[in-house]
Subunit: 682 residues, 3 copies
């Protein structure tokens, strides 16, 4: 199955809601889009009523008419299955389809994503509407692909309905077979939680101090992910069985509490992403005082997306201010920002960029979630910018299918992503380090990937990188440890941070080395460990001539074998002088263990010391405000320079290179205007 969107050329699309506009507008809108460079529209994902206004009575008149108009103009269409918003009749007649708050109150009709994935009735209704649509449009040439539902796990990513409890029991029975195995896995000996009948087991509910058994919570998040994947899989199987192989299947994300890699593996041809960097400028935050790089942080999200599919699409690319009527005020994108954010998507692997949305909705909760055009439907500055982006896309159209080149990878696993959500000891170090590594990568111009270790991850997947950083492998499975060990033995460099390895797959702690399976890789155990208190001074590790901050938490290391070298010791607190950084020589490679979390400065120092920093330095001098990236295909390298600064910057080209937008060879100092992007062919 294709893992990437693999379009021939870089393509532009848009989202459109035929049901919100008078039919008389459709044709002129479609022509207007085509004229602006747009080649595809995504429709129908919130339009169940247009297909099934009364339960069991299906009609296609409405979207047939729209598809006729599209066909006439030569516009291609991506069809959403409309299951994100059940009809009122469904919610009213079958309250069991609704999701619920943890305390049991149902989420009612009127917003979106209020259904649950496990209701037998909702699955039945879904099957019917998807089958009907697939049969009707599965071989329509105007339809190039399908989007399953919309933003799965958006809005709500926790599920507490009765259907979920029933399904959770089945999930657990399949996993544990016996209650005794479940009791052991969940450590129910703690606080007398032992279950003696399956009917005593529920999804998390209201408890004193809102505390649910953490091992249960880990399984519960796995269950949510499984529920989503099963639900999407059900839709995907229906589509696959009925539609043309020329039509692709995707969905738009990406959201929490879901294994997106499995979702794609099981059910999609590729993933699409909804990219809204303007959130960084919402009135509830001050971009002058944030240290998370503002809109540039979306490169982090795009790196996540790329880890799922090396080439992907953007289903919804920011084209105006964001806002619901009850929340989220933000300014309009400034001139150049739409271009910058579109190029940011492309620089990270997007081959399809579809703007959200053609025209701002005049109704509903999202009246301030602006499209390209304003309510008044006049041509405007943003549409002009869309045309300009189209021109730029044409200049780099061949980038489609090209691969992003990273200098190192940060290793991730869903178990640890999820563990850090409800384990505040894990969360503190994880948040610091994830921010630290991303910011360091950006500011030192050292491109990074995320490498998610999955069941099917192979040693080759790891060997693509000279350096792997696994900041906090709190849960460290044997399978993962084996893979990492083989990676090191084969010449790789592995860096692990504090809090590694003390939990097993159930989220319970090991009665073993504190470093668990990492003891065998890094060759260290701990003699002490502690949070840094708010009353404590900052602690550093002295490493050669450097003073490296060991942020948030400190593991005091104890080498277990002679291959281990102590590289650095702590400079303060009661463990002053004791090991904070070690390296273990293992086969052809090296395994480092660092006793703290990674601040931005610490991460940057490791990049430098471990020899991967700044791979572009021979090509270009660029200020920290710019992001640099390379996509490569057929021996051609496209160097993207994105100026995120709100002012002009100067970069220095150390060799002649072709500016693809200007179609001009450049060398030496050149200026980029505020928000300007350049793409050089190397």
């Amino acid at each position: 199955m294709a893992k990437s969107i693999n379009l021939e050329n870089l393509t532009m699309g848009v989202c459109y809601y035929p049901e919100q506009w008078d039919r008389s507008l459709w044709e002129s809108d479609l022509k207007h889009m085509l004229d602006s460079g747009i080649r595809a529209v995504r429709i129908a994902e919130f339009a169940w009523n247009k297909f099934e206004p009364v339960e069991g009575r299906f009609t296609f008149e409405f979207f047939d008419a729209f598809l006729n108009a599209a066909r006439k103009c030569g516009m291609k269409v991506i069809l959403g299955t409309p299951t994100a918003t059940p009809p009122a009749w469904a919610a009213e007649n079958y309250p069991e389809i609704l999701n619920a708050r943890k305390d049991g109150v149902l989420y009612r009709h009127g917003a979106r994503r209020h259904y649950n994935y496990n209701s037998p009735k909702y699955i039945e209704l879904t099957k019917a509407v998807v089958e009907q649509m697939a049969e009707h449009y599965g071989h329509d040439d105007t339809v190039i692909g399908w989007q399953i539902d919309n933003e799965l796990n958006g809005q709500l990513d926790e599920f507490y309905s009765e259907s979920d409890t029933a399904a959770f029991r089945e999930f657990l029975k399949a996993k544990y077979v016996t209650l005794s195995a479940l009791n052991k896995a969940w450590g129910t000996a703690f606080w007398n939680q032992d279950y003696t009948d399956w009917k005593q087991v529920y999804v998390p509910r209201t408890t004193s101090e809102d505390s649910t058994n953490p091992h249960e919570v880990l399984d519960y998040i796995r269950f949510i992910s499984d529920s989503l994947c099963r639900y999407a899989g059900m839709q995907s199987r229906i589509l696959r069985s009925l539609i043309s192989p020329n039509q692709f299947i995707t969905t738009n994300g990406i959201f929490s509490n879901v294994d997106n890699h499995r979702l794609v593996r099981d059910s999609l041809d590729f993933i699409t992403y909804d990219s809204y960097p303007d959130f960084a400028y919402a009135l509830t935050a001050d971009p002058k005082h944030t240290d998370d790089l503002n809109d540039r942080k979306w490169s982090k999200h795009l790196t996540e997306v790329r880890s799922i599919c090396p080439n992907f699409g953007i289903m919804e690319q920011q084209s105006g201010a964001i806002g619901w009527n009850i929340s989220m005020e933000a300014p309009m994108p400034k001139p150049g920002q739409m271009t910058l954010w579109s190029m940011q998507s492309v620089a990270h692997g997007a081959d399809y960029v579809s703007f959200f949305r053609w025209r701002t909705s005049v109704m509903g909760t999202e009246i301030y979630w602006h499209g390209i055009l304003d309510y008044n439907n006049r041509d405007n500055r943003r549409l002009a910018e869309v045309r300009d982006i189209h021109g730029k896309f044409e200049k780099i159209r061949a980038v489609a299918g090209a691969e992003y080149r990273a200098s190192f990878a940060v290793v991730k696993e869903y178990d640890n992503v999820w563990d850090a959500q409800y384990d505040v000891w894990h969360k503190r170090v994880e948040e610091e380090s994830q921010k630290g590594w991303f910011n360091a990568s950006q500011l030192t111009h050292t491109p990074m990937d995320y490498l998610y270790i999955q069941e099917d991850t192979a040693l080759e997947d790891l060997r693509k990188y000279p350096l792997l950083v696994y900041p906090h492998a709190t849960i460290l499975k044997k399978q993962t440890a084996d893979l990492l060990k083989a990676y090191v033995q084969n010449g790789g460099t592995l860096l692990m941070g504090c809090r590694t390895g003390y939990k097993d797959e159930t989220g319970k702690c090991r009665m073993d080395y504190m470093t668990g399976a990492a003891a065998d890789i890094c060759g260290v155990d701990l003699s002490e460990y502690t949070f840094l208190g708010t009353g404590d001074d900052k602690i550093h590790v002295l490493w050669e001539n450097s003073t490296v901050e060991a942020a948030v938490f400190n593991d005091v290391l104890e080498p277990l074998r002679e291959t281990v070298e102590v590289l650095g010791v702590y400079d303060g607190s009661y463990y002053k002088g004791r090991p904070g950084l070690t390296v273990n020589k293992l086969g052809k490679g090296k395994a480092y263990y660092f006793g703290g979390a990674f601040s931005q400065e610490t991460a940057a120092l490791f990049l430098k010391k471990l020899g991967v920093a700044s791979p572009f330095s021979a090509l270009m001098d660029a200020p920290a405000e710019c992001e640099l990236s390379i996509r490569e295909k057929d021996g051609k390298r496209y160097l993207f320079v994105l100026n995120f600064a709100h002012r002009p910057v100067t970069v220095g080209l150390k060799q002649p290179m072709l500016d693809l937008f200007a179609d001009r060879r450049e060398e030496g100092k050149i200026e980029l205007k505020e928000f300007e992007t350049k793409v050089f062919l190397l």
Copy 2:
């Protein structure tokens, strides 16, 4: 029907709770009140049990006894209908009478205002008790008037009971007749919300992200207001049919989610207000660091009240510290503050001032909501101040019925007041501008009115003002636009701010000029618009020699016709140099459009530039800390000078005038002590 209280003289009253005190105290209390200048007591609004201790069994013994005591002393009485607090038997036997949280949990017995307006059972119980009371006291000479319920929409101004859903459906059927019309009005095409059966329609309920269709919410607030007005109307009709025409009907307010103008028009002789400026000094706020003028902000509330009734009463005037046992700690009023706040009420149009309450309650939630006397029932400083106020009232007794004189009006409509409550884009500009205009009016001594445009508002109502400011007419109806246009054509000056006109009466946006119906008045459309982000610099409009801040939001203007003159352009951002202020000459008048929200400085500058600022400057030099106002009757003008400063100030009288309290002619510099008020006859 009378729209004002129209008492012959300025009169003083008090609130009293006979049911909370031993009967032996009644007579001495009444005499003590009379001796202090008090002429009326408000009673019974929380005393349902005293009339109907058991369902259907009515008794009047208790209040007959009190009225006998009052009659004997010569004290007049205002009777509250006791429906603000249903009896325990009602709440226990008929839970349907209770209001509910949005998630369905009922508000239970024990506090107040926990009933809903739409329960058939509660309406039945209300009718019975009000009929019984009206029959019994409707021709009692001691009773001068009736207060319907108490603080309608106080405590809770949203209603989520099943009775409310049933009534909401009826309200919507009456308004839309068909579901198809409702679907269109609410834009249910968005997020697949279409209703196919009336039983699918509810008052707002728990939804994902707590988002309800905004057009539904607008109708829902209209419904709440309608429910209140119907409920009060039902009581009023019973009273009217049974009581003497000499007895007036009022209620005490004013609260949110209600069209107070309709309430008075339909059901009352006049409104009374509950004035508690001590809230400004509650321990949860720091009056040293607020910029909303602290207690002086109550002049804003009084201006609202005056817009409902030019002359009105104060049913509850602060006479001690405020506080519930669970919230709201505040200091005692300092010597002079009770006088200041009473005079503030009178300066704005109050002809009746009734203190809350005679003696501080020794029981219940409000044990810290102090009355004049403390628990110990000794004469105290505050009672001495009441006597002093009485003396002052006697000196200006003829002010009753005199009219407040404003230099300009800020235009309001309930649709926009309500839209700004749940539309955060509207709220941000509205809050800035409402504060800006009120503060500028106060600090430049330029008295203002609020002018609510209602169905029966006529051109003459507008023509009373040389300048009308409608800061953000987001929803701009044709009827309102026609009225404003006629006002301008007839020589008026109209000033509108950003975000004007883009919504219709359903709260949906227009596919038309961004300025909607204002395009025809101000002659402009927009080419751009944006929030100012927290990372952006302040933006100004350059207007002649002035630099005018265009706060919060910027509309970039585009003249539509030749009568429009660009008066000012923006000084920054990507729309630098483009129009931010225009004026359209229309008939004999002028219509200004300003692209921002109005900060205090901006509003003050407009007052000056448009020639209405500081009408008292020929009479008096007064520091900004003082409020100045004039009430006028029969050719006599009463100039109120209120010193809100916590220190003495000096004012300069530019002509001789009679100090009514001192009974002395004054001229030149005179000092006002901290909190001191003077009234001069001009």
Copy 3:
């Protein structure tokens, strides 16, 4: 009945969870404990399932095996009754046993303390399991005592189940007999709350603005306390009837909404305390910027415990970092802190110190609530510190049974403790003064006691102290007033602060002197009273040469008789020059009334002026960072010096004394390392 733990020697214990570990570990763990100085283990308080895995089927195999292991090693055992965590079968089959949120949502299985005390079914289940355990282990020599349940009223200290409503009605019937008496006591005349049927009476429920009648709330808290005491009493009676008189009965606390003195009097031999000073260093607080003395504040809690039992135990003494998976991150105790905190417990009266827990749990919510050993089960620094503490305990083993010596007492009553919880006017002054007095006591080295006035408190209990401070006797009962008056007449010095005496036992205010029953003791009434607003300047009382801050609230005093001397007057506001401090000569003693709340500086000044400050000054010069205390037995005085500073300090011994740990006579200047403790024999 014994009121103290009265062990022969200072003894060390530990908490242990056999059910969480493989049985193969038990014996080695027990030997390891004994080897470290530990003589007793507390077990079983969360292990109901091990005794009754199926309803009605009891088994003792599991704990018999553990007790056999303990017996073999010579370890003593404290058995917890396991009622803090009902089995899943109980919660599933009998939801009536669960506690509920105020809005009715039940607290479900999976956490702890989610049951209610009043469920007949839960009482039945409790009786059965406690009887079975008592019969089985009540004469086992290895079992030295019993702990009833675990942390009663921990987690949840409010109860809203249907069983609670039923029991609340019975509680109220017993107290008031008639509804009319209840209506009068609760002041239901306010807001029409009169009850006409007992079925209308509920525990507090959801109300508008979440306000419940405050007099009802006071009774409701009394009811919670009564429920707890009845529930514990039921367990205690079963135990007493079945166990050997050699086995003691205790429980571990102490928590809110319970009369701990009654709990001990009715049901326990002594109380034990769970002491976790590391909370002061949790990452949610910054110990560098708190003024509540951080971990030293636990001396306040220990003073509370000592007021219940002069000699007591610590059931859970901090031995590692604290943390749940969802909350409460904190650093590991630093070297010396475990010793400091253990000595702090002993210095205040603990004769038994049991660490929580042997080894950190590898499962469940408390995986970060560390024990002595870490997950990896290796000997570590903290175990070494436990051994060192054992060595120190051996040096001062004879301190067991010795009495703490206080220089003065702060008077408390549960009615006022509880009143201050839901009465924010009371809470503001109470919080300021309680912190003020404790901090002043600590920083001036003036040891204090809390003296709870109970029904059986006798004049002799008061006469132990030369000075009694009752900061805010808001509710002042006649019985208490009589006792205090007798204390003064007999030569005592009494100091009362603002807000004294204005409420009666129902929490209603008196129509009497504002100072209520204190008028007769202090001889003053009030002419004014007010909160100090956030906009007001600080106010002081000028007293001889001192300027004493009268914080938060000011009573303006008015002497009622000639024996009263005005000692100080206010220095500001409108009551400048009026009395703020008075003294009444009464019999052989003096009664002071101070018009404000007591800041730390104010309290320190009173200690000095009233002649009780710094009783150790002849013995020792010590910096404020150290706590000093004396325990005395058989004429021997043990002087504890605890260095809470995070750095070394110097103390000066003004006479030779024996350092018990060093077994060396010392005199003159000596240094204490950071966190170091010394005990000198005087």
